[in-house]
């Protein structure tokens, strides 16, 4: 505990003034001495002087030296010293709160920027080991079936000698009891200690965070309080991650179901969407698109023909040549596709690409007759991939020669049907693939 500095207290101008006023009033001389024997005020001892102790926080902090009346000064200084002490404690408590507020603020800010369980755990552990003296730290979470505890991240600051078995036993105790615990000296005569607390959101326990030290550290309630604060934040972030993942899974499953629907209806297109997606992504990569753009490429390619669901079977599945009228019906599928996908918020971005995948670079395509850069890049990519697959997917095995012919066919239609930049990227990729 921080002591109140007697020298500072006596040196305060208002304190000095009060003491001098009193001394004048009661007409005595005194000196004030600290525990080391330094005279802080007045001169050295006079004959017959008595030492009156100054008690601050139940400890002697110094003496007032003088005749019997000097006792009043020692009482005054004891009182002021204790007030100062109380004030200091309050200030310290407030500063600790400030620390906590800042910790939580920084944590939630950092954790809010990611949906990766690993990253969240890493942030939590780094913060915990920064604030709590430790040689090892880890976060484990329950598996989906809640049968096992799986380690997400482990930080070993120094080569730790922690006894893992003992540690795991205590972790299980913490999980059973549902509250954080401090265990100093894991086993008899051990130099290992740990603080451990569950990661809880409402009534759900997601896992556990533990901090341990093998160097004779004694953890206290302050350490546990900090770890609890970190655990709360981490648990919320991890829970959000779970929610996010389940939403994402539902989304991906929905798309799978949509693709499956069109494949079930038209066996010709079975596998087509997936192959077009593969080709489109490789073109996108060659063009240097970033991760989120490549995700859009993939989704748009997978779903580009989804509008065929809206075409009557007798036209869509017709084996003989289509009449002009029937062909006009088939040409509606990009528009139907766009209309279907518009209903899903997460797919709004790719709607123009699905609508535009039968546009031609020279403006003679459908449904809108857009040309050049008016056509979304992803639509221009899918157009190339779609054409290539249409030419090469009619039989189970395609020779290199036939692939070559298909590529030549695409090359011939640069600037008319296809965007030259996209074709160039595709040819480059195809060449690399053939060489391998």
């Amino acid at each position: 505990m921080e002591e109140v500095n007697l020298k500072k207290l006596v040196g305060k101008s208002d304190v000095k003034e009060i003491i001098n006023d009193i001394l004048k009033e009661i007409n005595i001389e005194i000196s004030i001495m600290d525990l080391q024997g330094n005279i802080l005020q007045g001169t050295s001892k006079r004959e017959g002087d008595i030492e009156f102790p100054i008690n601050i926080n139940e400890k002697i902090a110094g003496f007032v030296i003088g005749e019997s009346k000097a006792a009043i000064i020692s009482k005054l200084l004891s009182y002021l010293g204790n007030s100062e002490f109380d004030k200091k404690m309050l200030i310290k408590e407030t500063l600790n709160k400030y620390r906590e507020i800042n910790l939580l603020y920084n944590l939630s800010e950092k954790m809010g920027s990611t949906f990766e369980a690993k990253e969240i755990s890493q942030i939590a552990l780094e913060e915990a080991t920064r604030l709590i003296n430790s040689t090892k730290a880890e976060i484990s979470v329950f598996s989906k079936d809640r049968k096992r505890l799986e380690k997400v991240v482990e930080l070993n600051k120094h080569s730790s000698t922690i006894n893992d078995e003992a540690l795991n036993n205590y972790i299980n105790t913490v999980l059973d009891e549902g509250t954080g615990q401090i265990i100093n000296c894991l086993e008899n005569n051990s130099s290992e200690s740990m603080v451990c607390t569950p990661l809880k959101v409402k009534d759900k326990t997601l896992g556990v965070i533990s901090i341990s030290n093998s160097n004779n550290i004694i953890y206290d309630s302050e350490d546990l309080k900090l770890l609890n604060a970190i655990a709360t934040q981490a648990a919320i972030a991890l829970d959000n991650t779970n929610l996010y993942e389940s939403i994402r899974d539902t989304f991906l499953q929905t798309i799978e179901a949509l693709i499956e629907t069109i494949e079930k209806k038209d066996s010709y297109t079975a596998g087509h969407a997936r192959r077009v997606a593969v080709y489109s992504i490789s073109i996108g990569e060659e063009l240097g698109l970033n991760r989120s753009e490549l995700t859009k490429v993939r989704l748009a390619a997978l779903l580009h023909d989804i509008g065929k669901i809206g075409i009557q079977d007798k036209i869509l599945l017709k084996n003989s040549r289509l009449t002009g009228e029937e062909y006009e019906v088939i040409k509606k599928h990009p528009v139907y596709g766009a209309e279907i996908l518009e209903n899903i918020d997460q797919l709004k971005d790719i709607v123009p690409s699905v609508r535009g995948h039968h546009e031609r670079y020279d403006g003679k395509g459908y449904p809108d007759g857009k040309k050049g850069d008016e056509i979304p890049l992803i639509a221009r990519i899918i157009a190339v991939a779609d054409a290539f697959d249409a030419m090469t997917s009619h039989r189970p095995y395609i020779s290199n020669k036939e692939k070559e012919q298909a590529l030549n066919e695409i090359y011939k239609n640069i600037n008319t049907q296809f965007d030259p930049v996209v074709v160039e990227a595709f040819l480059k990729r195809a060449k690399v693939l053939q060489q391998n």
């Binding site: 200030i91 500063l95 620390r99 507020i101 800042n102």
Partner: protein, 127 residues
């Protein structure tokens, strides 16, 4: 010559909190000065020449921006590191802070560890 830190805030509890945060520097021979308003702050800066000042922005009469501006641009005192303190949630005008020559700005409730770290860095003292 001993190094000096000046704390300027019109709220007594913030002054106390900053004083307590910086207390350990006194053991290293650093003098801590405390001012309650902008006018007092300017007097201290002129007479005591502190090395570092923690300066509240929102003060009546002469606010933190004004003090900073006078020090850096009128008195041309360059060897004073000025940290502006603003309340959290209060919009801090970064551009204005930059214009008046503040070296750093922090939000209240301040992080005591960060204040100690910054002070160590500016004064070249390791606690």
């Amino acid at each position: 010559m001993c190094k000096k830190i000046l704390i300027v805030d019109d709220e007594p509890h913030i002054r106390m909190l900053l004083e307590q945060t910086l207390e350990d520097f006194e053991d290293e021979g650093v003098e801590i000065l405390v001012a309650e308003n902008g006018k007092e702050a300017l007097e201290y800066i002129k007479s005591e020449r502190p090395n570092l000042v923690y300066l509240d922005v929102m003060m009546p009469h002469i606010n933190g921006f004004d003090v900073c501006n006078i020090v850096k641009n009128e008195l041309n005192i360059r060897d004073l590191y000025i940290v502006l303190l603003t309340a959290k949630g209060q919009e801090f005008d970064r551009k204005k802070g930059l214009e008046v020559g503040a070296d750093l700005y922090l939000t209240k409730p301040f992080d005591p560890d960060l204040i100690v770290e910054k002070t160590e860095e500016v004064l070249g003292i390791k606690l």
